[in-house]
Amino acid sequence: MRLAQQLAVESDLITADLVEVTEFPHLAQRYSVRAVPRTVVNETASIEGALPESEFVRAVVAAAHKS
């Protein structure tokens, strides 16, 4: 979550939600969350686990270009 919120601070185009899965189990099911953290990007892509900064940014930018 730390990186996602940092991205939101740095870019006016990025918003970051932290969703606590035990309180919103229907969303965990909808987005097939089997392990955490799982980051869903624009409903179309996902990032599994906690990645280093450079990899996370690369994955978000790549997903943004695809969606």
């Binding site: 979550m1 730390r2 996602a4 919120q5 940092q6 991205l7 939101a8 601070v9 740095e10 870019s11 185009l13 990025i14 918003t15 970051a16 939600d17 932290l18 969703v19 606590e20 899965v21 035990t22 309180e23 919103f24 969303l27 965990a28 987005y31 969350v33 955490v36 953290p37 799982r38 980051t39 869903v40 990007v41 624009n42 409903e43 900064e53 450079s54 940014v57 690369r58 978000v60 930018v61 997903a63 943004a64 270009h65 969606s67």
Partner: protein, 141 residues
Amino acid sequence: MALLSDRDERDVRAQLASLDGAVTLVCFTQELACQYCRETEQLLKEVAALSDKIRLEIYNFQLDKTQVAQFRVDKIPATVVVGAKDYGIRFYGIPLGYEFGAFLAAIKDVSRGGTDLSPESRAALAEIVQPVHLQVFSTPT
């Protein structure tokens, strides 16, 4: 009973002592049919009391439609962390446990209006030309 222990309070107060700009925590809650709304509201009150730079606004998710629409909140409990502007950071569910650290970090980031991301990361983010919505699914432990 307080959610933050005396020791937690001391730690958090020390972390928040270096805040630059004002921060507003915008809480969306309701009394019924929301398992952690009351605890979330209590936690935010406890955190806001630890820094004179933090202001707390509490809205009813059912009744305060203007604010719900303004902050585009779609579930509760919700906490929006706002600095000089709304940076688009929301916590859905009570930000305790592992998420409490991310919550404090968000407060500090929006307070200064910047992060420690590398120049390379900032350059990569500048390539984004359309809205990106990140949903990070996590657990308290």
